[in-house]
């Protein structure tokens, strides 16, 4: 079981309120991603759940039990830290065994679980090495292995991929997703990278300055962002925001349109502009378009290779049903 309920959870460091009272329900087996810009309180929230920090007020229930009195180890949660936090003086085997040793699990059972975790994570050959002799990706796996063997009610990940290079990051992302499918255990995953959030989550929690901006499935947030912040944060390249007469024409203070929802043509369209930079990725082409009179730049994403170049004049047509309308407080209308 791994059901976690946050009730009016609030956290202040001294006089600074980092997390205003917040409610959240995390269901058993769910993969929940906390996403938000750096410094918005994601780690703090995770550490409150882990028990590494005390809540200032409110309550965290784990499987229906209040957790205030429970020290971190008694909460049945396992955490994978951003820095991996491996014990540098212990071999991989000892690292993975440590939580079981602390729990006084029998030696046979320890060995069985270590072997299982090692083979699942491709670590069998490295069991006798020290963390210092491993690559970043391998260290990451050891940290995950150490979490798995405890058979926790939920896994907590704090930006686990941010210290890896881009290629490894994609690989590990898949591995963690597969792990979740296999174990079907609750996972709470913190990241500032919306791509990780979109690709991995069952449920995304978007945070800003300690406040929950929106909770929902990835596509729900993509298609139906509640406000400008979420609309701008989810999706890449970022949504275009247009104010002024063009927005007023749609009866809104601001309108938003995603780059992939604008059709581009060399001959005709609603809006006219000049190509600043064109990024040709092969699979897609991104145009950054100036002098539209709408916004500083309008970004457009066209599928495949489009042979328009820097300086050329183009015409843009937003797909009418994909336009998001926001009021003057930034809320979706």
């Amino acid at each position: 079981m791994g059901q976690i309920t946050l009730k009016k959870v609030r956290k202040a460091f001294g006089d600074v309120e980092v997390i205003p009272p917040l409610d959240l329900q995390i269901n058993d087996g769910e993969f929940v991603v906390f996403v938000g810009p750096s410094g918005c309180g994601k780690s703090t929230l995770l550490r409150l759940i882990a028990g590494l920090e005390d809540v200032s007020s409110g309550e965290i229930e784990i499987d229906g039990r209040p957790s205030a009195e429970l020290p971190p180890a008694k909460r049945g949660l396992a955490m994978v830290f951003q820095s991996y936090a491996l014990y540098p003086h212990m071999s991989v085997r000892k690292n993975i065994a440590f939580p079981m040793k602390m729990a006084k699990i029998s030696q046979d059972e320890q060995n069985r679980r270590i072997e299982a975790a090692a083979s699942a994570l491709n670590l069998t050959e490295y069991l006798d090495r020290k963390p210092g002799q491993l690559s970043g990706g391998q260290r990451q796996r050891v940290a995950i292995g150490r979490a798995i063997v405890r058979e926790p009610a939920a896994f907590l990940f704090d930006e686990p991929l941010s210290n890896l290079d881009a290629a490894l990051r994609v690989g590990m992302r898949l591995e963690i997703s597969e792990l979740h499918k296999r174990l079907a255990t609750t996972m709470i995953y913190v990241t500032h990278d919306q791509i990780e959030a979109m690709t991995m989550a069952d449920k995304i929690v978007v945070l800003r300055a300690g406040r929950i901006e929106q909770v929902g499935a990835p596509l729900e947030l993509y298609e139906n962002p509640r406000n400008i912040f979420v609309a701008g944060f989810i999706g890449s390249p970022r949504m275009n925001f247009i104010e002024g007469p063009e927005a007023a024409r749609h009866n809104a203070h601001t309108i938003g349109i995603r780059p992939e929802h604008i059709d581009v043509s060399a001959t005709e369209g609603d809006w006219q502009g000049r190509i600043g930079v064109a990024e040709h990725l092969g699979s897609d082409t991104y145009f950054h378009i100036h002098d539209t009179g709408l916004a500083e730049t309008v970004t457009v994403r066209a599928s495949g290779e489009v042979t328009l170049r820097h300086g050329e004049t183009v015409f843009l047509t937003p797909q009418a049903e994909k336009i998001h309308r926001f009021d003057n407080e930034g809320l979706k209308q």
Partner: protein
């Protein structure tokens, strides 16, 4: 990282140290203050009447105090001058490319590990002794009259001995600081067209400044309390010629058994040391934030 539980544990863990150091500081300090206002001599049994600032008056107006104060200052300033200048030169030298640097560094650092009584006695007997010392032999072979260092230049001799002990400290710290100087910074200055001299002046010296400050302050703390070197060489003499404040207080307390007077002297020594300490704490406190 800090749950109330962890914070409570931390308080518990830190309290033995705090209590011990607090006791170590307050109890003797309070007693010193208390004794300093009593007429209290171990050689004169009877009660110990309260005499107010009498001990301080005697102590501060005693010619020995003026002498000790001057000697203390001369000792501190003399040793500081030798060790800072010598240490900078040695550090510069050892920072140059050469073979077997490690060996030369070890030779230079060695005196720091020699216990004060040994270094004082070795210098006193084997070098400065007017009959059998190496200096006497050297003077004779040059046709000069032997010189009785400890009788004729006692303070200078003690400065010499103490400088020998502390030169390694200054060298080691300045060398460490020099080696932690960012080479890229020097290279950048070189690219900007700074010559060797102006690089030394504008980059090396300011960088060493902090380390030098630390050396000055820490040495001062120790140099104010030089004791063993005086005890085994000159016993503060001849007369008061090599008595410093520490030795004077020791003599009052444990040679003349004048507890009241010794305590008053102790309070004076504490005040003097505190003036230095304030500066030292500022310098170190700044680094704590970095």
């Amino acid at each position: 990282m800090a749950t109330t539980h962890a914070r409570a544990a931390a308080r518990l863990m830190i309290s033995p140290s705090v209590i011990l150091l607090l006791g170590w500081m307050l109890i003797p300090l309070g007693m010193t203050l208390y004794f300093s206002v009593l007429r209290y001599n171990l050689l004169m049994p009877g009660d110990n009447p309260f005499v107010g600032i009498e001990n301080y008056q005697y102590f501060l107006t005693d010619p020995a105090f003026t002498a000790a104060l001057i000697n203390t200052l001369a000792l501190v300033v003399g040793v500081l001058a030798v060790t800072i200048i010598g240490g900078t030169l040695l550090a510069l030298l050892l920072d140059q490319p050469m073979w077997a640097t490690g060996i030369w560094r070890i030779l230079v650092i060695a005196p720091f590990f020699v216990m004060p009584t040994v270094s004082a006695l070795v210098w006193k007997n084997m070098f400065m002794n007017p009959v059998n010392g190496l200096f006497a032999h050297l003077f004779k072979s040059l046709g000069l009259a032997p010189f009785d260092f400890l009788a004729q230049a006692p303070l200078f001799s003690i400065i010499w001995i103490v400088s020998w002990q502390w030169l390694p400290f200054a060298t080691l710290i300045l060398l460490t600081a020099m080696q932690s100087l960012d080479r890229e910074q020097i290279e950048a200055a070189e690219m900007d067209g700074a010559g060797a001299l102006s690089r030394f002046r504008h980059i090396t010296i300011p960088h060493l400044g902090r380390a030098a400050t630390v050396v000055v302050l820490i040495e001062t703390i120790f140099l104010l309390s030089v004791f063993a070197e005086i005890l085994v060489t000159t016993n503060g003499g001849p007369g008061n010629a090599s008595t410093n404040l520490t030795y004077l207080v020791y003599a009052e307390s444990l040679l003349r058994f004048d507890v009241g007077m010794g305590s008053a002297g102790g309070v004076v020594a504490i005040i003097l040391a505190n003036i230095v300490a304030i500066f030292l704490m500022r310098a170190i406190g700044k680094n704590l934030d970095a």
